[in-house]
């Protein structure tokens, strides 16, 4: 029983590192993939697939990172397309555009800060539940398996 407990503790250390990597990797991919918004989503998805057979803790945090990236991806894609259409298409700068861009920038900054905080917290073994995404993750990730 003692040996089992020790093994579980050691495994927990490995899991913390893997789960924290999910957040750190999404940040690195975000920086590397600018201005294309799909790069960080794809990177997080590949990381999620690579860890799909890992423990519940790792899968949970990979899914939360993936969901948050998906949300940001939708916002960024719309702003990217809007900007391209203004630059090369028929649209013109408008107050709505500037308002939307401000919202997107704020969301991106809070996502980056949240990701950093989560990476640090998870590495220390603390819980990091995001508004909206944590309940969704609870629904999507099953404990068995």
């Amino acid at each position: 029983m003692e040996l089992q407990e020790m093994q579980d503790r050691v495994r927990e250390q490995d899991d913390r590192e893997k789960a924290a990597n999910a957040y750190v990797m999404s940040l690195v991919a975000l920086m590397a993939g600018l201005p294309l918004p799909i790069v960080n989503l794809l990177a997080t998805f590949i990381f999620f697939m690579a860890n799909r057979k890992s423990s519940y803790f790792v899968r949970w945090h990979c899914t939360q990172a993936l969901l948050s990236q998906f949300f940001v991806f939708i916002l960024n894609t719309i702003s990217f397309q809007w900007t391209i259409r203004i630059m090369f298409g028929d649209l013109k700068f408008s107050n709505e555009y500037f308002g939307y861009i401000c919202v997107v920038i704020l969301v991106n900054i809070s996502e980056i800060v949240g990701t950093l905080i989560s990476a640090v917290k998870v590495r220390k073994g603390k819980e990091s539940n995001w508004w909206l995404f944590a309940p969704l993750t609870n629904v999507l990730v099953r404990k068995d398996n």
Partner: protein, 112 residues
């Protein structure tokens, strides 16, 4: 196998495996016949930190996958220029555990 032999092997090589696998490996090696020890020693173990360095330096050419003996994935990574850079980034963070996984698989072929 004698306990002292198993211990000295694990002291020298535990960094090549996931830390939670060491206890399992100790059990397996202890229950193994002495004759197989030479085979265990002959298994080429991949250095996890070196794999990360290769991944950082030549990941876009699939060098890390070639080093791990995953030729198919290496060629795929080479032809896609590291999955347009995305696969390369992911591998920076998974290279260590990939190396440890490969080491465990190689050893399990002998240990059973």
């Amino acid at each position: 196998m004698t306990q002292s032999r198993v211990d000295s092997y694990l002291i020298a090589n535990s960094k090549y495996f996931e830390s939670h696998q060491v206890a399992y490996l100790r059990d397996k090696l202890t229950s193994m016949e002495d004759e197989k020890f030479d085979l265990v020693l002959a298994v080429q173990l991949r250095e996890p930190s070196f794999t990360v360095m290769i991944s950082l330096a030549g990941g876009s050419m699939g060098m890390d996958r070639f080093y791990l003996g995953q030729t198919g994935l290496g060629v795929a990574k080479l032809l896609t220029a590291g999955g347009c850079g995305i696969w390369t980034i992911v591998d920076w963070f998974t290279a260590q555990s990939n190396a440890r996984k490969v080491n465990m698989e190689n050893l399990q072929r002998i240990v059973g």
